[in-house]
């Protein structure tokens, strides 16, 4: 498809832009038109912040986006003083349900819509299927607490065996092979997982499923599939359990991992840590899910990439809205707010308040392009 071509050619630009966003807090908006693609998006994105919008917009969904949505609504409402945006972080499933039943104008979800849900969306979207654009990328860090061991490295295979419960000691030969030269204690490993359903678990198990081969036999799922290890409630619960225990290892949104040590994972033949730039790069390498409408930017993340400097253990969260709305003002608000979110400025705000990785420029442009078509039902 066209987008994979864009992905390949825009890659160096994307990496450069991602680095620029990560390091500096200004000037990103000016870079956008120079990185190719359709023209006029930069102007469109700034138009949404021009202060002309009014009314109330309601959205619901992913709790992973909660902090970022807080930053976005604050900035959006400052520049559009007559507009109010409410985002209810009820969880991805709940948000999508509310959207499909017409309760909210847009949803945030850690998983793209299933084909059934896409068909169902035609009911609320006046016969057309919903628009899906990625808006929030966050690296998932493998965090651990093992005094005396810094710079832990884990290959997908080893990681899968630890979480499946087949590797139980820190001085296991497989971990030693990943970490030559490190002194690993003869201590039991306690793998910590989320005990509530979550998009983080979905992406983590998807990574193990794709990257670890025979070592991980479970499919991707929001519910932790293995009946062993230690469960903890929410990201904060996992972080607390890893911190309080000894010999513990868990997975959590990198921005929430605090002072915990983060392991590097093996990508190709190199070792990559959970940085924003590496996560952006991995998302930029992803292909669209096949069999979807052009307005649907659902990404199939390539977890087995061998590209150096890409971190494929990422969570990509989406915005879901309708291509047409019955009410002219709602259409304008959705278009304005969602366009602002995927714009470089919006992504930068999320990076500051939520520690997320900015959308690579090719995805940001494609998303802007799709959102530009949102209109009132004619």
């Amino acid at each position: 498809m066209n987008s994979s071509f864009v992905a390949r050619t825009a890659l160096p630009a994307a990496a450069a832009l991602a680095l620029g966003l990560g390091l500096s807090s200004c000037g990103a908006a000016n870079e956008q038109p120079s990185s190719g693609g359709a023209t006029g998006q930069g102007a469109n994105a700034t138009a949404s912040l021009s202060g002309t919008l009014s009314g109330t917009l309601n959205g619901a969904g992913s709790s992973a986006q909660e902090a970022a949505q807080g930053g976005w609504t604050a900035k959006f409402q400052t520049s559009n003083p007559n507009a109010t945006v409410n985002y209810d972080p009820v969880g991805s499933g709940g948000g999508v349900d509310e959207f499909l039943s017409g309760g909210v104008a847009f949803a945030g979800s850690d998983a793209y819509l299933s084909t059934d849900q896409v068909a169902e969306s035609k009911k609320v979207c006046g016969g057309q299927s919903a628009i899906e654009v990625p808006d929030y990328i966050s690296p998932i860090a493998v965090v651990y607490h093992l005094p005396g061991v810094d710079n832990l490295r884990l290959s997908p295979d080893t990681l899968a065996k630890i979480f499946a419960g087949t590797i139980t000691q820190w001085n296991d030969p497989a971990i030693k092979a990943d970490n030559p030269g490190a002194t690993l204690p003869a201590q039991r490993i306690t793998p910590v997982h989320r005990s509530d359903d979550s998009g983080t678990t979905d992406n983590f198990t998807d990574y193990l499923h794709q990257a670890a081969g025979d070592a991980w036999t479970y499919p991707a799922s929001e519910t932790w599939p293995v009946k062993s290890g230690e469960g903890a409630d929410g990201t904060s619960g996992v972080v607390a359990a890893v911190q309080k225990g000894s010999g513990t290892v868990g997975y959590a949104d990198a921005s929430q991992a605090g002072q915990l040590s983060k392991a590097q994972i093996k990508v190709g033949s190199s070792w990559v840590g959970p940085t924003a730039a590496a996560a952006s790069k991995a998302a930029g390498l992803s292909k669209p899910v096949s069999g979807r409408a052009a307005s649907d930017l659902a990404l199939s993340i390539n977890r087995t990439t061998t590209e150096s400097g890409a971190y494929p253990l990422v969570l990509v969260s989406y915005l879901i809205g309708c291509p047409t709305y019955g009410d002219a003002n709602t259409a304008k608000l959705v278009k304005g707010y969602l366009t602002y979110i995927v714009s470089p400025q919006g992504q930068q705000v999320a990076a500051q308040v939520a520690g997320s990785a900015p959308l690579p420029s090719n995805l940001s442009q494609q998303a802007t392009q799709q959102l530009a078509d949102i209109a009132v039902k004619g």
Binding site: G93, T223, D233
Partner: protein, 309 residues
């Protein structure tokens, strides 16, 4: 009931009628609320009977889904009661019969304060302090009593086990059980106690002969009220317990059964479709169990009070 009133006072005053109406509607409201909850749980829970493994976290049917949760709920509650009942009885006796008046007031006040602590705080305390402090004890148990299935280990390194959850529950149950037991013990007729002492009984014999028989039904209902609290407690368990949905008697490992209430709290935000019905069905099971426990308690109380007479 109303007839004699009508005979004596043909013209009922407005205040009387308002008061009768208010009390009646208050009474009816409780029954209606309870019926409403039961109907909601049944209507929303029944569709879960045809849920498949996709909606049930991999369990093949609703029974296989609810059973480990029910097991965990009962296990945590039993641990809580085994610890809390003797403790509550001891504290109540100290307050009512052993301690000097000033001290007993202080102890009773402190126990009542435990009830004022929110369950989230117990959860935080369980994760951040209590569980961590129990880790050496768990390791010692696993090393020395590993041959007992209850302590098979391997010991959790974070202390977030079902034993910890049960102990936290025990502390949460303590105030309500103690408060009722204390009241019941204090109501033992002084004459009977003095008579026992006059016949040459020691203080302990007096308590055994005069106080316990009198208070038995009250103590049972106190324990049952505590059990109801332990079965339904959600937040503290959800935070403290490391749940994996297994059925095991191993109390000190990091792989534990979850409880119904905690499972609903943890899974509901991301549940959709039949998954929601399955959670509500588990709620119905908990509702029925709590009801059964209360009926059993009432039956026990009724029988022992008849025996006492």
């Amino acid at each position: 009931m109303t007839a004699p009133v009508a005979v004596r006072r043909p013209k009922a005053r407005l205040g009387d009628r308002v008061f009768v109406g208010t009390t009646w509607s208050a009474g009816l409201l409780i029954v209606l609320t309870l019926a409403g909850v039961a109907i909601f749980l049944a209507v929303e829970g029944i569709p879960a009977l045809r849920a498949g493994s996709a909606d049930l976290n991999g369990a093949t049917n609703i029974v296989a889904y609810v059973w480990p949760l029910l097991f965990g709920t009962l296990l945590a509650a039993v641990i809580a009661l085994v610890v809390a009942t003797p403790l509550a009885l001891g504290v109540s006796l100290v307050v009512s019969h052993y301690a000097p008046a000033r001290l007993s007031k202080l102890v009773g006040y402190a126990i009542d304060l435990l009830a004022a602590v929110p369950s989230v705080v117990y959860g935080l305390w369980g994760i951040g302090f209590f569980g961590v402090k129990l880790v050496p004890a768990f390791e010692w148990l696993a090393a020395h009593f590993g041959w007992i299935p209850l302590f098979a280990g391997p010991a959790s390194t974070t202390g977030r086990t079902i034993l910890t959850a049960g102990l936290v529950l025990a502390i949460m149950v303590l105030p309500i059980t103690t408060a009722i037991t204390r009241e019941v013990l204090a109501q033992t007729p002084t004459l009977q106690q003095e008579a026992a002492l006059a016949l040459g009984a020691t203080r302990w014999e007096m308590i055994r002969l005069a106080v316990f028989p009198h208070a038995r039904s009250g103590i049972v209902s106190a324990v049952m009220l505590g059990l109801g609290r332990a079965l339904g407690e959600t937040m503290a368990v959800a935070m403290v317990l490391s749940a994996s949905g297994v059925v095991t008697l191993n109390l000190i490992s990091s792989t534990n059964p979850s409880t119904i209430a905690a499972n609903i709290a943890l899974q509901f935000p991301e549940a959709a479709g039949l998954g929601v019905n399955a959670l509500i069905f588990s709620g119905l099971v908990l509702f029925v169990i709590t009801f059964a426990v209360n009926f059993a308690a009432r039956a026990i109380v009724a029988r022992s009070s008849r025996e006492a007479r």
